[in-house]
Symmetry: C2
Subunit: 691 residues, 2 copies
């Protein structure tokens, strides 16, 4: 039974034996990086921190001082009400620290500094994710909705969100419509007689659900609802209204039923609940009217004609939320990695062959692999995040400077904003998936000690669990990205049926396949910088390999979808449904390419010849080669890489974790995680104290 | 930039375009299974349940009645002390139900029915994992140690464990030695004058840690310690002693310090703590003396001469524990899958193209993939578990019948018990990894509702988290399996240095590569049953494909290791360390083969031509093809499968989830999860209720 069953196509790759180590027999790669010195250079920490912080070092360093406070850590125990009350107190500390509010627009007294919000969430997530998310709800979602969708009329609400005098909710999701926002059922019907909107939940499925701040603390809510005006039975689409949900003293408001989701799988300091409206009347001015308004007589007006485009323009406020969630996931992951890597550098287990005492965990290659490979991905995500934030900030600046009219953007702006939406979606889904996997790996890598709540890893893990769901389910977001790629960011396709989409794709193949760009314009210069020897360690080659996959996957998806144009509607729908896994693959490979590009961009900022640059380069190799090996079957199957090269990539991953092992603490020190987070009990009594 | 960078070896596989669906262009496979009827046959449930329950249907059905009790569910909230007290009350219910004690040997009043213990844990894990684990600690670990290592002398302790009059701990792990049991530091020094053992923790690293029942409820402990007798300074190795740790009223015992680990990442009903001994004296008779004894004058005696073999014979009691943990992980996973699959069959989201209402989640292929692929693996694990239990029960029976002398086994018995150890290790590690991944997938597949504690998924998930660590860290267990494979189950190698191991491997290649067998003897008949057309859907071909990988991975590992025999000791150690990932791969591919074999064996028990058999067959296809696709790069790289065949396997997975979709509820109904577990709030108010 030792013979393979299949012999077709055996002539191709010589099946080299790997008995004496794969490297010896695989074709040697040019430009193999030298093994790093066994004694790390601690000065590399600051250089690496600089590249990780990107253009946001000042903001972050300011926050870090505030965050190094043991009171900010999540309490280990308590009743739900105690945990929530404590967490609210921490949000007050954040408000007093006064940086997160810089994300609001100048109109509302902020600085229009998106990064202040995103970086605050990222760093809060390194300490306490209940605090991070409750702050995100208050400042980013409730305050952010008012800031992004409101006008002069609503300054009082934005300021109330900023100074916590108005605690609020972001009431979009409905229990019957988790991901399908366009079809929520809450209604806002205009009554010209009283000049009020009547907010109503017509059926149980339309209850607002999983809403942060709704169960206990919220007094206000930004409520998304279908707008109806007297001129027509049809909805004008989803709009957002400011609605009081409790009196300031916490007593109920007539017509609003709040309820409590109670205990959740994590984020115990956040009070999620439901909201139900029974013909609640709010003044006409409570419509957040930046993109649409209703006149006193009930006349509807919007500078954006297409309802579809209007909807997506309003939803663009979600982009900032997704940036925040992705950054938080990334922050929590870095904190977990720092804990696990530091533990691996002190914890000893099993007698070593030569050193006369037990080896440290980091001395085992399997352990290096399980921590350093995800760590490399965290570096890649950090670069991606920074450049995405740069891009988003530039767009925000253009909007406030009046160079970019959201109600009437240029074609390029239009496309750019859709692309930013895609980038934020793939960033958020990549970061949250990575967070869950990595924090679990960190927990397991710390064994029984990792399971003790005092060591923080399980709390991080259960808190970030739901990051894969809220602010857009990861699978749905990847589909969104796939569809954006497939439709070349055309607005018109958003509402198309599968059949219509197939027709569109067939008619626009050229556009689709050429319209791919990067996070930032600077990427184009990359080719000038690198001389391509074709080695797996060449930057240009790495990018080409990853890009080839991205292109071919999209290509194959396009061809798969366009055949549907000749089918009946129901058959066409089936073809589209059956392309779902390809759609996801297209999105993921797009994200992979973005991260490789981002790392290459970031690397340029490190001094040539510095040890930080050498280390960063090896981290980049590790990330890229792991990305390639994850998809090895695709590369082999599509003949982009030979078996020998895949083997070489696998061997190189082992060499790289060996080389980076002694530098592992340097790599996590560069994350600049607040000390209080790293001072875990297992670091002192983890069995190494044999006094 | 659209050309691939690497063109070597491009001549091989024709790079077929997959535009019009991969299947059309990949070589069509023979014997493709027909799509199942769109309306499932509910009668298949009982047939499938029969194959899932194997020879243990009676035991399980008895337990199921007991388990369908809402009081057994994990409480949603409470202080640690409340949760622990409540859980202890539930353990009393389990004791009163009286089935779990059948696992004890007849000497102690049991029936020697291993399955009664393992199945109890498996089913408890479907309802409440804190209850499962606390029961496991009491009956399986504390009681099990006394039962397996003790003699007539210790009947009172075994009975005390069985009727809960003696709550106890299994005190093996030390804070400084999580996985390295052979080098624990607690000492038991014999004092001939008083005929007592002095139990002592010589340093902080020797504290017993993470011990269940230690923080609150335990009164006794089975303590593992290095045995010292007056004749020599050297330890006689690790032995087990019964030690009182608290008075019956809970007050402290002199010399024993107990402490509390407090809040953990899950299993909140289990009171884990530490134990420290300060020269605690216990009578000579408290040594569990089945495999070794100390005479009154201090003379040491054991029927097993080799200290190494003695150690591993005693550790063989861990095998039952690993079976229990694996079964529990598998049980919790099935419960999670049942919840998520049932939710997917009622929950609607997004408008469907044709049916005039929103589609159910199960109607989306991506959703079918995320649930049905792990579900198929759960079916495979169930088959593996049953047959492993059959094997273990047969060995237990042979031992009690006197046909198998543990102190002096035949060569075949010796090898068989090592193999059982390997099988239990790979079963436990596979099941616990699968549990964590799948329960997370289930949570995400239920969106926000899945994150609410009332819907049980997050509690299952955080409870099983540590299953990957306790009773043997999964990575260490996989290494153990790899080493067993590499040393052809030779006892002598257990203590060899890496250098010695390399020499051994070099001298025993023949043995290593031929000595591979299955779970049960019946497997050999498989080849008679199947005519091999070479199709991916042929049972024989499937087995051959998986087996080919297992053999070649082991082969390559052997050659990699044996080169080290000519090296210096420290160089040899490096080679072994660098083979760690191959060692893990060898273990995993061994486990994969076992599961394929187990499914094929199990399938035989289903009536030919029945719809259950048709369905089971497709589940087996799904499991096998997924296992192949997971390792697609290896198969391609080693030319075992062509690109076309891998494509065909991928396309077949999609076809299979489409075919099995309408049967998904049948598949989980066959798990026979207690109704109280499935009656989750999200099943009634998940947005489908639009009244």
């Amino acid at each position: 039974m030792s013979t393979p069953t299949n012999t077709e196509n055996r002539g191709s790759a010589v099946d080299v034996t790997d008995a004496a180590g794969a490297r010896a027999e695989a074709k040697p790669e040019a430009n193999r990086p030298a093994t790093l010195p066994g004694t790390p250079d601690p000065s590399a920490v600051e250089d690496l921190a600089a590249v990780l912080d990107g253009n946001y070092a000042d903001i972050k360093n300011g926050l870090r001082l505030f965050l190094n406070d043991p009171d900010l850590l999540p309490p280990v125990e308590g009743t739900l009400d105690e945990l929530r009350a404590y967490n609210l107190g921490l949000v007050e500390k954040v408000a007093q620290a006064g940086r997160i509010q810089d994300s609001f627009s100048p109109l509302n007294g902020g600085k229009g500094q998106v990064a202040a919000g995103v970086s605050s969430l990222e760093l809060l997530a390194q300490v306490n994710n209940s605090l991070c998310i409750k702050s995100g709800v208050q400042f980013g979602l409730w305050g952010g909705a008012v800031d992004a969708l409101g006008t002069e009329r609503h300054v009082e609400f934005a300021r109330g969100a900023m100074d916590l005098s108005m605690l609020g909710c972001f009431a979009m999701t409905e229990i019957g419509h988790g991901s399908n926002v366009q079809h929520i059922e809450t209604t806002a019907t205009y009554d010209p007689e009283t000049q009020e909107f009547i907010i109503n939940s017509p059926n149980p499925g339309s209850k607002k659900a999983y809403i942060g701040n709704a169960a206990r603390d919220g007094r206000w809510a930004a409520v998304f609802a279908q707008l109806h005006t007297p001129d027509s039975d049809e909805s004008k689409g989803v709009h957002c209204f400011v609605v009081r949900i409790r009196e300031d003293d916490g007593s109920p408001v007539e017509g609003v039923t709040t309820s409590d989701h109670g205990h959740k799988g994590g984020l115990l300091g956040v009070d999620n609940g439901m909201l139900e409206f029974d013909h609640v009347r709010v003044p006409r001015e409570r419509l957040l009217n930046r993109f649409a308004d209703v006149a006193e007589d009930g006349t509807y007006y919007s500078p954006i004609e297409s309802p579809n485009r209007r909807f997506f323009t309003m939803l663009a406020t979600l982009v900032r939320g997704r940036l925040g969630v992705g950054a938080s996931a990334a922050g929590a992951t870095r904190a977990g990695l720092a804990i696990a890597v530091k533990y691996a550098n002190i914890r000893r287990q099993f007698e070593a062959e030569t050193i006369g005492q037990e080896s440290r965990l980091i001395d085992y290659r399997v352990h290096r692999r399980r921590l350093l490979i995800p760590l490399a991905r965290s570096y890649a995500l950090a670069a991606f995040q920074n450049q995405l934030l740069d891009r988003f900030q530039a767009q925000t600046n253009a909007i406030s400077a009046g160079d970019w009219d959201q109600t009437n953007p240029t074609k390029e702006q239009d496309r750019a904003s859709r692309e930013t939406e895609s980038l934020a979606a793939i960033f958020k889904s990549t970061a949250s998936t990575h967070a869950n996997r990595t924090l679990q790996e960190c927990r397991e890598a710390c064994g029984g000690a990792g399971y003790m709540t005092e060591n923080l890893l399980t709390t991080f893990r259960s808190d970030v669990d739901v990051f894969t769901t809220f602010e857009g389910d990861d699978t749905i977001l990847r589909q969104l990205v796939g569809k954006n790629l497939l439709t070349a960011y055309s607005w018109d396709v958003a509402e198309l049926s599968p059949f219509g989409m197939a027709k569109f794709v067939a008619g626009n193949i050229g556009d689709i396949l050429t319209r791919r760009s990067g996070i930032a314009a600077s990427v184009q210069s990359l080719q000038d910088r690198v001389t391509g020897t074709g080695s797996l360690f060449d930057a240009e080659t790495q990018l080409r390999i990853v890009q080839t996959r991205e292109e071919q996957v999209l290509n194959s998806l396009v061809r798969r979808v366009q055949v549907a144009r000749k089918m009946e509607r129901s058959e066409a729908a089936k073809v589209i449904d059956r392309s779902q896994d390809h759609l996801l693959e297209a999105a993921i490979s797009y994200g992979d390419r973005m991260m490789v590009q981002a790392m290459l961009n970031a690397e340029n900022s490190l001094p040539e010849g510095s040890s930080a640059r050498q280390v960063y380069e090896q981290v980049r190799h590790l990330f890229v080669l792991d990305t390639i090996v994850r998809n090895a079957d695709w590369y082999l199957d599509h003949n982009v890489l030979s078996g020998g090269r895949v083997k070489a990539a696998k061997a190189a991953i082992n060499d790289l974790v060996d080389s980076l092992g002694p530098w592992s603490e340097v790599l996590v020190d560069a994350f600049k995680i607040p000390e209080v987070v790293l001072e875990r009990p297992m670091m002192v009594n983890g069995g190494t104290d044999r006094s």
